[in-house]
Symmetry: D2
Subunit: 389 residues, 4 copies
Amino acid sequence: MRELVADIPRRRRLRAGMVGGGRGSFFAPVHRAALRLSNRFDLVAGAFSSDPATGREAGAALGLAPARNHGDFRAFAEDEAGRADPVEVVIVVTPNHLHFEPCRQFLAAGIPVICDKPLAATAAEARTLARLAAADDRFLAVTYTYTGYPMVRDARARIREGEIGEVRFVAVEYLLEWLADDPARLGKGGVWRGDPARAGATGALGDVGTHAFHLAEFLTGQRCTALAARLLSTVAGFGLDDTDVVQMEFDGGAHGLLWASLAAPGHRNGLRFRIVGSRGTLEWQQEAPETLRLSRLNAADLVYRRGQADNTPDARTAISLPAGNPEAYLEALANLYCDCATALEAGRDWRRATPVPLADAAEGLRGVLLSEAAVASSRARAWVPFPAG
Amino acid sequence: MRELVADIPRRRRLRAGMVGGGRGSFFAPVHRAALRLSNRFDLVAGAFSSDPATGREAGAALGLAPARNHGDFRAFAEDEAGRADPVEVVIVVTPNHLHFEPCRQFLAAGIPVICDKPLAATAAEARTLARLAAADDRFLAVTYTYTGYPMVRDARARIREGEIGEVRFVAVEYLLEWLADDPARLGKGGVWRGDPARAGATGALGDVGTHAFHLAEFLTGQRCTALAARLLSTVAGFGLDDTDVVQMEFDGGAHGLLWASLAAPGHRNGLRFRIVGSRGTLEWQQEAPETLRLSRLNAADLVYRRGQADNTPDARTAISLPAGNPEAYLEALANLYCDCATALEAGRDWRRATPVPLADAAEGLRGVLLSEAAVASSRARAWVPFPAG
Amino acid sequence: MRELVADIPRRRRLRAGMVGGGRGSFFAPVHRAALRLSNRFDLVAGAFSSDPATGREAGAALGLAPARNHGDFRAFAEDEAGRADPVEVVIVVTPNHLHFEPCRQFLAAGIPVICDKPLAATAAEARTLARLAAADDRFLAVTYTYTGYPMVRDARARIREGEIGEVRFVAVEYLLEWLADDPARLGKGGVWRGDPARAGATGALGDVGTHAFHLAEFLTGQRCTALAARLLSTVAGFGLDDTDVVQMEFDGGAHGLLWASLAAPGHRNGLRFRIVGSRGTLEWQQEAPETLRLSRLNAADLVYRRGQADNTPDARTAISLPAGNPEAYLEALANLYCDCATALEAGRDWRRATPVPLADAAEGLRGVLLSEAAVASSRARAWVPFPAG
Amino acid sequence: MRELVADIPRRRRLRAGMVGGGRGSFFAPVHRAALRLSNRFDLVAGAFSSDPATGREAGAALGLAPARNHGDFRAFAEDEAGRADPVEVVIVVTPNHLHFEPCRQFLAAGIPVICDKPLAATAAEARTLARLAAADDRFLAVTYTYTGYPMVRDARARIREGEIGEVRFVAVEYLLEWLADDPARLGKGGVWRGDPARAGATGALGDVGTHAFHLAEFLTGQRCTALAARLLSTVAGFGLDDTDVVQMEFDGGAHGLLWASLAAPGHRNGLRFRIVGSRGTLEWQQEAPETLRLSRLNAADLVYRRGQADNTPDARTAISLPAGNPEAYLEALANLYCDCATALEAGRDWRRATPVPLADAAEGLRGVLLSEAAVASSRARAWVPFPAG
């Protein structure tokens, strides 16, 4: 409890660096706000842009010492490797197709990495990173933000404890609207998300569907073993799929359904799950993240609420405010960063240090492989094994 | 407006008969309550059971004259054919696998038929009925109850008027829980629904999925042209599919997704649709039928409510009470019966007499063919055309 | 269970008459639809208007035999008194200020009465009726419709069983919008509701506030002992209060608050209660009548739903359809009529025959006294005892 | 837009100090989290406890230089007055009855003050502070947190623009449950809140009712001119009112109703308003702060959502994340701090610098006078003018 507001007595803050996230970046400032909120990191070094001047403007704005405000992530990595007080973690928030190289270099330099999702733009890159990280069980965490929500963790814990019985069906969806009327108006964001060279093999699936897929596995503890995907283009002029349907089979016997879209008007950030078990269904929606609804067989629904006495221990580890003083997106992301701090402080024991598993490089790889498998399935109009042999 | 409560001045009531629906029938008394509510029919004749004594007990309870209280639907049909004042319509509410024969006989006798959905247990039977009805454009209506809800009609009208732009994606679901824990406890209903000899080719799909499928076409005016279905058995001991996923393509370019289940704990009668267009999404849920939500591109949601001044004309034709005095399931079914009465009064012009199209025999046939196509698709794990060549 | 759809085996239907409710009446046809739905009464006699021709048109439309289709309620009462098969109950649905005389005459004739609420336009009249009814414990029921909702009865039963602990605060509200913008456009309804000569001592309070007040006592079993009312006119040109606030004290120690308005835009038929106890709060809203929400001290909310296994026995007596097939306003009113039928069949034992108490003449009197007390309190800007000494 | 995540280019951060908020403080760490999130202040000095050792532990944990980590707020104030780089604002988060002295001293020292609500424990103290602040129009802001929510500002702007027509009725409520079952278990918080010597003249009203009262005036722009209050003790053993009802009259002709409670089980932080105008009603709930519902006369409801294109300019000034990525309580408080920073940077022009008015000392005084007036009214069971002559 009080995860983000426990400032007395002092907890040490870790030295963090950042790659990417200069002026014009949309989500990097959100990550930095979450870092401030977490109170577990000091941002002391960085290379914030592929354009050195832009990058240095950002570093100055963020209060970095000039010596640690780099024009280039390679120089940044080299410099840190030689310092007595190197950053204890580097956060990679470059555009999606530029995750690979900085992740690789910092891993090689022995510096832990937190990388925004997706881990990489191609399966080959993601495999390389996963192999590098696995070699020495190095710390590489992928920010699947939504697992930072307390009630998502509450759902996972309840499923593990058998509260809904045997898991039978997993329905996840992630619907957005921004592409709905005119991709041309979307500017830079729209362009790269629809450009196979930069967005990867898929559009909506890689951009948002992967969050939903990750949640399905995170919540149930079951692994997808086969899938049948339909990648659709409902909006003209966008180079990749904007709407997807993926049917899934899981190793624990559950079946599943994923629906993702960037072109669903009236949906802002519509991530949502329903996990159907033999005794009840758990439902959660990201736009109303404070509650988790358990509907039960022939009995009253239960509406669990963050911060109440019946929260599971897993949920409690990610709570800062009392029930009724709502928490939301930034708190969820800050919870992830708190977990990262806790894990980093644990050193080689990092995997056992957090209440719920951090998404590691292998998890990040699955997210990238999802796109690859979905493309294959959609072309063949057939089920394919996952991950492919 | 005031459809069900307009009793002054008097409207003539039609003479109606019923086949099936004796003691122990679950839904027939619901139909009779809707008939009373509609105030458009007098139930004057019937054969309420395959067991003559049981049937006659029902007819007596319902106030029928002994001469028109038959022990057998064949005798009933013959008798009516010879009367000066024959029933103007017969309502068939026998168990699903026994719809065919009474429908056929009354059609042959020249008496209009209202048949509970599904029209028949096999495609062959349904084709026969559709052919018989088509021969002379005879009146045969199938009670797809949910099209009787005013806000379902409101949604259809708004889509036709272009309020959500081009229809791109149709998500329908129909989830129930009754099979969830133990099919053995389900008694008679559970048994026949899982028995291929009586339920037809599918379980959940034919029982409830067909309602969702019908709504998808009713709302969008588009026809399904191909589908990929996955028929699942998640509960042991039930002879047919209990959970289904069907992907659909429509002739107007829309794609669709149908999820149906009899084994989803926490869902009572969870019929629901979301129609995604290029400008907005319309959402409706049967368990809260009074409102229709239009979520729009980057603007406030609109929550339309039955009975308000901005209802479409189609919705208004099915409204009895002012907004705020809620209407629900029985009113929806009674609205369907009112439409039937209006159509029957129009004689040969029956197809043009109602505000929204009645589901006719051809429509009923599509519902039966859906099961056939889904079985084929699920076995082949492949897309199939719909209806098959 | 299956209250309104239990038509086999046959239940005897009672002979009913009606006073008022001819062409132009708004709520009388709603009552008749509820009667049809209840399947417990046959409407066999009546005097439907103060204008004989209008009244007889209504009776003809409703299928009455000419001999029992009266031009005047006095003739009707006299005729029934002399018949071998008199009506077993008369239903009074005249305009509010015309309830008294027919009630009085039929009571005097020994015929049970069901009277729409309010019982009478003045306290003097209501006292007279209450005295007449009490004399021989005659049957006079007032249709406080909302007590017919199963989940209202569920709430009452849960409170009685102590599920929310000691009742501490009772918040009831009833908000409508029809008067909001322009009383002039309201026609006949608006005129009489704002006319002290016809509406009684109060406007909003007598029209809708009395329902909320009745619910407060019905639910808690506590009786109001004192009140402080503020009767407000927020809309120009309406002759009576359109908005009211009433604070209440109850004999069981609870406090309460009533807010009623005819001039609250955006509220259709916004009756709602929250009963705050020492362990939880029960909340219900008429526009979503199928669920009852129990919010509990530091624990998940429970959302009870009509038709589920955990409904109280009191709720079960008023249920016709399974959970998920929603019931609504007409079913609630029909449930009241079923209770009346059950009570009437019990003869002198009528008070003990129904699952929850019927609102009798004494209850109806309290509703009328409420207006009287509220006017006194509002004028004096002071608390007054209730009912006045 | 992007208020809390606009970190490039750099905005200067103001030097801030804090009085109170050492170990054990519940809300001070929340304020500090909001300060971090705001990115507009550096906490550089403080006196965090009346116990010097406790205070210095806090200062150390918060990274203060020892020279500015004081054991006593008087020493703190004196020190700052003599520095070349004094704090630009001091934030007072002592227990409620200890606000007065530090506020007075820092005002006297010419240092702007942000004080947690309520401004002071007694009307006399609050008047003194208001007078001191008024003397030279000094900056003193009271943190009425809930005005920091974008959709609260959206509501205010819509009301000002006439979207709901003439404001007729204002219903505000603020319900909590913590006192519900046993005040004894409440520890320190429960004790002082029920202790007249420390909590002030009222319990629930001063603690939470004042927020609701402030919102009523903030939203409508109307000032309360008279009130009738009922201060109730429904829980034994708590020294002050735990539940209150206050009726209000406003100078613009509106009427109002406030309901506050600390003892309403099932309510966590249940602040909520409904503003009824002649054309529509605006409703907002703190536990679901992202949307604002406009229900309209005989037309579809509009559900406005933070971050969408139809937000008012006032709302936009307090938005950081896109619609769908929810914001909540900490963001609201951080928005208030951003406003304070903007106002402080404007120097003498501070009152005109913010999008919506900051709650100043005069506003804080009204909050304290509310308790005084309510006690008088409740004792006399009478309406009293507000503020008293």
